[in-house]
């Protein structure tokens, strides 16, 4: 009736392979969309060149980039370039576009990883404790804080934070990078909204897990409250939480556009805004593909985390 169980490693490998194939198909779809969007929404020469470019310059541009060739040929060439890691030159920085994007993406990746680690850790502890005594003082306090956190716009917090901590108190630098102190404000501001959202999800999921039958069993075994919350209930409650953590992390990886811009943080969000304004389309396209790839990888990680946490998914 039940198929013979695979070994754990075998099952995981099959699982990863299946997900990787699905991700690859999505990536190809994205590639098609990005390419045709930039070709079909108008004349690429008009799009790529400055507004004041002359007709002669545009013709030269078309000739240089093979824009007069049939569309499919252009697409084949584009895919060929992308596969070999060639996204063209950045028109403004005179360096390979991919190099520019990866440099910015590294900054964003660090920002996202540090922020999400802090957020996830804090939100899981706070949400779990709030759920343990649902309706109690700590629960109401954390609900209030998380609700405010999830609702307040980040550009406002960012500006207020600069005014208070950088301008008035002069404890922290206003913008840029260079020292550890430069990281504190962007991380703190980016922390607030995902923290508010994830605390609420953890709390809801934990209330369900704590009222489950297996928790009753654990109490009948004499297990103490600590392990009941963090060993028995939490692992079961993590599945919906991981989904939301993934969503939030993805939006940070996409580039925290506003926060990066306000704090002059050289991440991929700021790079994208700058490149769009400067019509540096090779960089924009490279940035889109790099962040998309990162998000696909992260979804894969989330699926893996699911399978690790819940043995029923592995089968």
């Amino acid at each position: 009736m039940i198929p013979p169980p695979d070994s754990f490693e075998g099952a995981m490998l099959k699982f990863v392979r299946k997900r990787a194939v699905a991700s690859l198909i999505s990536l190809v779809g994205l590639l098609v969309m990005v390419f045709f969007l930039s070709r079909l929404t108008g004349d690429p020469a008009a799009l790529f060149l400055p507004v004041e470019a002359s007709a002669e310059m545009k013709a030269q541009f078309r000739e240089l980039h093979g824009l007069n060739d049939p569309m499919l040929m252009q697409f084949a060439r584009y895919v060929g370039d992308v596969v070999t890691g060639d996204f063209g030159e950045s028109l403004r920085k005179a360096r390979p576009a991919l190099e520019v994007v990866l440099e910015a993406f590294t900054w964003t990746l660090w920002l996202a990883v540090i922020t999400m680690t802090l957020v996830a850790g804090a939100a899981i502890v706070v949400g779990s404790l709030a759920a343990f005594r649902a309706g109690g003082f700590f629960d109401r306090l954390s609900s209030l804080i998380s609700l405010v956190g999830a609702s307040v716009p980040d550009f406002w917090i960012a500006i207020v934070a600069i005014v208070v901590f950088s301008v008035n108190l002069a404890w922290l630098p206003t913008s840029g990078t260079g020292s550890l102190l430069h990281w504190i404000l962007p991380i703190s501001v980016l922390f607030i909204r995902p923290f508010g959202i994830i605390v609420q999800v953890v709390r809801g999921s934990m209330i369900g897990a704590l009222s489950s039958a297996y928790v009753k069993t654990a109490r009948a075994k004499g297990v103490k409250s600590g392990p009941i919350i963090f060993v028995h209930a939490l692992r079961n409650a993590m599945l919906p939480v991981i989904t939301v953590i993934g969503d939030q992390a993805a939006s940070l990886l996409n580039g925290a556009v506003i926060v990066e811009t306000i704090f002059g943080f050289p991440g991929v969000g700021k790079l994208m805004i700058d490149s769009i304004l400067q019509r540096d389309f090779n960089v924009v396209l490279a940035a889109i593909l790099v962040t998309a790839l990162a998000i696909f990888l992260m979804n894969l990680l989330i699926d893996l985390a699911y399978a690790l946490l819940d043995p029923r998914i592995r089968h």
Binding site: P5, A213, Y214, T217, R219, G222, R235, L309, R312, H315
Partner: protein, 539 residues
């Protein structure tokens, strides 16, 4: 006063809910000695599980509140004990097993981990816990115990999961084991095995057992003494045979009288032209063969009981006959026409003749529809049956027919008890004037006294309206009271098919005999004889 191992004195528990204070148990007292088994017998809502939750400190406060009483374990009051001492009691001195072992085992940890945790929580070191876990799993009869330690709960069968729960509960050799409906969710043969295991382990360890159940058969099989609860009050107490043979309280009398399996068996009329003729029905799901070629006939106005254990294919058969699922091959002639080859339009007309009543009326009745809407919905779908002007009158008639009244028409399902809801579901099935009703465990979820009433209702409908029934059930005494013919299924095959008298009095197949032998009789003397016979067979 430390004579008894456990003494519950004058215990009252109330729950403060949005609609007011519910007094779950009121001033109940009982006691339990070492090596003894006490059963708490009661129906749903009787409060039979509340006192054990209080013993285990499992009542959430708020909303719960223990308003009076004490619970003495060897003379020490568990309710006033300091928290650090209280914590040492659960798992070490008192352990508990529950009705539904799948939901009571943590799905994301291996069973080995969960058994070891029971030990390490109370100070056993890890190496000792590991060897103990293996010994325990072996002792409760889990096959291949070494590898099973690393398996997760979902990889075991229901009976095995309950064995795992027992291994976990007995890890520290507690003085008292509380078992809350431990076999209710299990098949009858598995139930017998689990109860036998509990009895064996009790003899080995000398522990006391407090068993909570609604089943007189379980009481007769395992208990020395019994207390009967009704609506939060303890109405009767005594030894099992005293209470069974000479019940004092009217409620106890009613419970014993309602126990199925004692009535006159049906003597079906000679068989003539079948209304339904099933031939060689097969169905497989992947590599699993659910039905391996079933054939049988059903006469008009006849009840065919389908019995068998989980996985035997009973429910698959019901789903296929209603075309909720498609068979792989075979035919089912309904008045000469094959159900399986009918077009959707023909099937739509036929739905009138074939109706179904499900196990759980709470789930099968839309909670946002009134009783009137639920019953008259059939005529919305089949408008030619009855003109709209007559709907009200007919709904009222149907309600009276199933033992409810016209005044119930405007109410919603949640305003009724489980038994009443099942009557509504039956009224809804009757609205289309069907000729066959398929009941899938239609009375399994009901209390014994309600069960008897619903069975009586179905039998009356069969006689008065000539409706045929396919009655899927795992509860043999109920089948004995209601069926004309019985079909015993095992692993997708019909192993025995005959009149109810043939199957119950002179079963031909070993499997049928095993099923019948595993069934529990409410009479403690009969059950004692069964047990003696079983022990003799074993030795």
């Amino acid at each position: 006063m430390a004579d008894h191992l456990l003494e519950v004195r004058d215990l009252s528990v109330e729950f403060h809910t949005a609609v007011g204070v519910v007094k779950a148990v009121r001033n109940i007292s009982y006691h339990l000695d070492r090596g003894e088994t006490l059963a708490i017998l009661g129906e749903s809502g009787s409060g039979k599980s509340v006192s054990s939750s209080a013993i285990m400190n499992l009542i959430d406060m708020p909303p719960g509140r223990i308003s009076s009483g004490e619970i003495l374990l060897d003379g020490a009051d568990l309710l006033t004990m300091p928290a650090h001492e209280r914590r040492k009691v659960n798992g070490r001195r008192i352990a508990m097993i529950f009705q539904d072992p799948l939901s009571h085992l943590n799905p994301v940890y291996t069973v080995g981990w969960q058994i070891r945790e029971a030990l390490t929580t109370h100070g056993t070191d890890a190496a000792k816990a590991a060897s103990e876990a293996l010994r325990l799993l072996t002792r409760v009869g889990i096959p291949d115990p070494e590898r099973s330690l690393d398996k997760y709960p979902h990889e075991f069968s229901g009976g095995q999961r309950q064995r795992v729960m027992i291994a976990m509960a007995l890890a520290l050799r507690p003085d008292l084991l509380i078992a809350d409906e431990p076999t209710t969710a299990l098949d009858v043969t598995v139930q017998a095995e689990v109860l036998a295991l509990l009895e064996e382990l009790q003899q080995e360890t000398g522990m006391a057992v407090l068993i909570i159940t609604h089943d007189l058969g379980v009481v007769a099989e395992i208990a020395d003494r019994v207390v009967v609860m009704e609506k939060g009050v303890l109405v009767e107490a005594g030894t099992v045979s005293e209470v069974y043979k000479n019940p004092q309280h009217p409620y106890t009398k009613k419970l014993i009288a309602a126990a199925p399996g004692k009535g006159e068996m049906h003597a079906p009329a000679a068989r003539a032209e079948p209304v339904l003729s099933v031939r060689d029905v097969r169905k497989r799901y992947g590599s699993f063969e659910a039905l391996k070629g079933l054939s049988f006939d059903l006469m008009p106005g006849e009840t065919m009981a389908v019995v068998g254990e989980s996985g035997s294919g009973k429910s698959t058969l019901a789903r296929i006959l209603l075309r909720l699922d498609e068979p792989d091959s075979g035919s089912a002639l309904w008045k000469g026409r094959d159900l399986f080859t009918m077009s959707p339009a023909e099937l739509y007309k036929l739905r009138r003749d074939l109706q179904m009543v499900f196990q759980d009326p709470t789930q099968s009745l839309n909670p946002r529809m009134t009783v009137y809407q639920l019953i008259s919905e059939a005529w919305v779908i089949h408008p030619d049956i009855l003109p709209k002007a007559k709907w009200r009158e007919r709904v009222a008639e149907l309600l009276v027919q199933v033992g409810l009244g016209p005044e119930h028409m405007g109410r919603y399902p949640h305003q009724f008890s489980g038994g009443q809801r099942q009557r509504i579901a039956i009224a809804r099935a009757l609205a289309l004037e069907p000729q066959l009703i398929i009941c899938d465990e239609a009375v399994s979820a009901l209390d014994v006294s309600v069960q008897a009433q619903v069975i009586a209702l179905l039998d009356r409908l069969r006689k008065e309206m000539g409706i045929a029934f396919i009655f899927i059930a795992h509860d043999l005494p109920v089948v004995r009271d209601f069926a004309d013919h019985v079909m015993v299924m095992q692993k997708g095959n019909i192993v025995e098919l005959g009149t109810v008298r043939e199957v119950f009095d002179t079963p031909r197949q070993d499997y049928t005999r095993a099923l019948l032998a595993a069934g529990l009789d409410p009479d403690p003397d009969v059950q004692a004889a069964h047990r003696a016979a079983r022990l003799q067979r074993a030795s």
